[in-house]
Subunit: 591 residues, 2 copies
């Protein structure tokens, strides 16, 4: 029996046809002598009817259990009036089965596939082959595939060439740790898995490929946090003879196309742009969620005459008095406000000050510290009116911004201020080139060491490194950094200046990136690019909370695959062949 239709396609147009379906037993119901089976595949569900007058086949039907794999032959019939299911494509028909073959049996599964049960993620990951039968997950994985396909078509049409770069490359740890791969043929030497194809894609620009892209796996051996995977997928792009605007154009066109084809949504371009400094001061984050307002306001000026000790000392120490306006928040109970206070304390702050806005001013212990004119001015500036709640934090600038940014997100979440079906893109620009790393007491690259400084800043690089801006940009979607990129140093001299600032010696630069430095000397064109965190992008577009919901075989936050049990021990012989020995860690600790 050869399949004639999938389980998702038969309608009343096929009434009377003789069909063969194949799939999984989804549900079985015994009903007034008849047995009803829902048979399921990737495409949908079709109702089968087994009539006891077909004795042979009825006997088989009695054997069927959840997740059995079957092939059936039967006739398409209209369902009786009362049994029509308009919500289902196949909801008006059923198949009267006259032949049934069991292709494979199934043990009783540890959880029901179709019920969105509250089974633990651990069990679901262990039995991923069952979990992946859930239509929810199948939808995500198929959508991911479509997204890739749409992206590729779009970039193809824009003259981009997909070029595969090596997975076994040179180890150049910078930022995150490399995963290493020992060489058996060259014992004692190692390859590294790419953290990104950065150097190779720059080489491709030097080679004249003009427009490159790749959807490619990358690897970072980080101490894991929620929603990070040791391996992740990037949409990686690079272009020659371009400026920032060209990258924005291509990416905006790409996003517009993706959302149009995938979700029939129209995204307005060009996207909003926000300088890094403004993002930090307005939203306390370089990946602000702009689907709602509640910007941070600075009250330093208004509080300049206040005698309130906290404000006074904050102003004196060049700190920040920041505030957000929680519209209608005056209705919050003392307990609810305490919760917000506790939230800030948990983050490491000293708490949050509040002022309920009334028609007459503020209902707050703070009101006595402000002149009524200042209160009116603050209300005015913050768009606050009767019934609103102002949330105020004073202290170190960076911390206040961070706390208010988090508070802003928490309130939006608690109060359902965010409409799920908005797609709000924003470019973050004008990043600092460097940031000071307290631990190593040196500047490190905020983006990566190949990022070009803004040309007007090249001269000031050495004199005033902290204020040099980078030609870097991030794309933020609904509060998630979905892509980041930059214009690169195509000029060897500038590249070496940046290395010097980063305290990377000529020798170290040569050792790590020698081939790229060579390449820059043989006719490197101006170039730049961007890379999308593809998993995250899918997650945001699919409106999922976890990246594991859009990856077929994810690892846990401890970097373990619960299904195949990797990482695992390997044989002595394998290690010997690699010229490696395990260090006995206990022994080492005690020595």
């Amino acid at each position: 029996m050869e399949r004639t239709h999938t389980c998702g396609e038969l309608t009343i147009a096929s009434i009377g046809e003789d069909v063969v379906l194949q799939g999984w037993v989804d549900r079985r119901r015994d009903h007034g002598g008849l047995i009803f089976i829902d048979v399921r595949d990737r495409y949908g569900i079709t109702q089968l009817v087994f009539d006891p007058s077909y004795e042979e086949v009825f006997k088989i039907a009695k054997e069927l259990r959840s997740e059995f794999v079957i092939t059936i032959n039967g006739k398409v019939e209209k369902r009786p009036e009362g049994m029509i299911n308009k919500g289902l494509r196949t909801g008006e028909i059923e198949i009267l089965v006259n032949k049934c073959e069991i292709n494979n049996r199934a043990k009783n599964p540890p959880f029901q596939v179709t019920e969105d049960s509250s089974i633990s993620e651990e069990i679901r990951l262990k039995y991923r082959f069952l979990d992946l039968r859930r239509s929810e997950l199948q939808k995500n994985i198929i959508m991911r595939s479509r997204l890739m396909s749409i992206m590729r078509s779009y970039l193809d049409n824009q003259n981009f060439v997909e070029i595969e770069t090596p997975f076994l490359m040179r180890s150049t740890p910078e930022g995150a740790r490399d995963f290493l791969v020992p060489s058996r043929i060259h014992k004692g030497k190692f390859y590294a898995l790419p953290q990104s194809p950065q150097t190779y894609k720059q080489i491709l620009m030097v080679s004249g490929f003009d427009r490159y892209f790749q959807i490619v796996r990358c690897f970072r051996d980080e101490d894991l946090r929620a929603d990070r995977q040791p391996e992740f997928t990037q949409l990686d792009m690079e272009m020659t003879f371009i400026e920032e605007e060209d990258v924005y154009n291509v990416v905006e066109g790409l996003m517009k196309e993706v959302l149009r084809v995938l979700l029939n949504r129209d995204v307005v371009t060009p996207f909003k742009r926000l300088k890094y400094a403004d993002a930090m001061s307005l939203y306390g984050s370089d990946k602000p969620d702009l689907r709602f307002g509640m910007e941070i306001h600075e009250l330093n000026e208004s509080a300049r005459n206040s005698e309130f000790k906290i404000f006074k000392s904050t102003i004196e120490s060049d700190g920040l008095i920041g505030a957000i306006n929680f519209k209608g928040g005056a209705r919050y109970s003392r307990k609810q406000i305490d919760n917000l206070n506790q939230f800030i304390i948990t983050l490491g702050g000293r708490g949050v000050l509040t002022a309920k806005v009334t028609a007459k001013g503020w209902d707050s212990s703070l009101s006595k510290h402000f002149h009524i004119d200042d209160i009116v001015a603050i209300n005015d500036e913050m768009g606050a009116s009767d019934g609103d709640l102002l949330l105020i934090i004073a202290g170190n600038k960076a911390e206040v911004r961070q706390y208010l940014g988090r508070l802003r997100l928490k309130l939006a979440n608690d109060e359902n201020l965010i409409s799920d079906d908005k797609f709000n893109f924003v470019w973050i620009t004008d990043f600092p080139l460097l940031e000071w790393d307290e631990e190593s007491e040196r500047y490190v690259a905020m983006h990566h060491p190949f990022t070009s400084p803004k040309s007007e800043n090249i001269e000031s690089l050495i004199a005033d490194p902290a204020n040099v801006k980078a030609r870097a940009y991030d794309l933020v979607l609904n509060g998630n950094e979905v892509a980041g990129g930059s214009i690169r140093n195509h000029n060897l001299e500038n590249q070496m200046k940046v290395f010097k600032l980063l305290n990377i010696s000529d020798k170290e630069a040569r050792d790590k990136f020698g081939f790229l430095l060579d390449a820059l000397q043989y006719g490197a064109p101006p170039h730049g690019g961007i890379a999308f965190g593809f998993d995250r992008l899918v997650m945001v577009i699919a409106n999922k909370k976890s990246i594991r919901d859009v990856i077929a075989f994810p690892k846990t936050t401890a970097a373990i695959s619960l299904m195949d049990g990797s990482p695992s021990l390997v044989s002595k012989k394998q290690l010997e062949e690699l010229g490696l020995a395990l260090i006995n860690n206990d022994a080492k600790k005690s020595s």
Copy 2:
């Protein structure tokens, strides 16, 4: 100045236009006061003219050297009659330059990019960023990208879903060695890089994805031979509820589409099929090149009455007297024939016997050992006529076939019997399930251990393992195995029988493939698939001799990247973090 056109697109339709081009200085000629520069990019070459009356720009032109990167502005003009180059798209125009900016300078390159010079591959790989500027290589890489894109579109349209499987997986060495990746978080444990996504794609079928594909990197830590890379790309496919014919259909449609779109070639389907046993006896190879004939004939029957010692002993020891007919080969000199003899000796054989076919019989020392009727019969069967040369080898069956198969290829090569633009596909079918491994004294899987035996053979599995056929198939193109696949064991019981034959204990099976065995118990559908060696396919289609010509950044046969110098030493700190120590191999040897 923003690029208005690429270097490959301007024609006489644009005469008079003001344009901006960007690219690399390909060639410079000084001519009657004018300077001519060919500027090159991925899309083509355009001729620039610098006139000394434009003083400023002429000064810059004098500075220009090969591989400098420039941006120019100028006017499109018609070339003077004598200078038109019809072979070039841009060959009828030139640009009179009025502005020129040097974007980057280039050191004198170690080899000229455009000349197909006889520079060593070692130098070319070290300076891959220059080598990749050659139009030949660019053509291959861009063609590779197009091939991927055509494949993906075709499979998309056939309802296949591209699903990404993990790169960090469980080590299950079987056949080749795994590349290992030490875990830092779980010291002493390792991930392995996939030799193929075999187990995962089977899991995806169990999960109901119905039709999966992926263009994916795979890894094998083999002792390298020419034209093998430690990392290589596969087009990997798997389908549910199918038989061999369904795989053939999809693949034949895919190949037809690829060659139609890419090369405007029509390939006839269905492809020829050849049983493994017939391929071996007719061509001495399981990847026969069918672009020419010269099949192997068996002369045992005709030589049965011969008193010739070699033939007698061959027949007695159940060996083979095999022959091929080299049409017109009687013209070969003694020296040329000696060469063929030497070729067989180098392969390990005892040499080759020859018979020049004449109108009267054979001009050969062998003719006295045959009755003239037999000679006529042999000539007849082999289609041999006056002027042909029969090449005959006697001995062990497998060896004779191998030698004659190699000789056949050598002659085709030496004599240019193969037309370069033929695409000859053939399915090899009916492989043995197992082959005996002399070294380990056990049966090993000829394909892989998940391959299903032919159903009629399941019962004989244990009784007569050597004669069990597999539901496996290879696709051969022009003598290259470009794809291989099989129908899998979807039934746990059969899978365990195969493991038993392979001497894989239940415990070992559980340990290595536990998750797949679990999956087979929860409703595994019948499924099968195929995987293409993508690099090789591109190589054959692009008609290249080396796989390194179709990979952007290949490694040498010693698995070294000459450009980035990987594999390389890593820091002590990196090793310590992984809980690893290098074994001092010298010390070990002397202990």
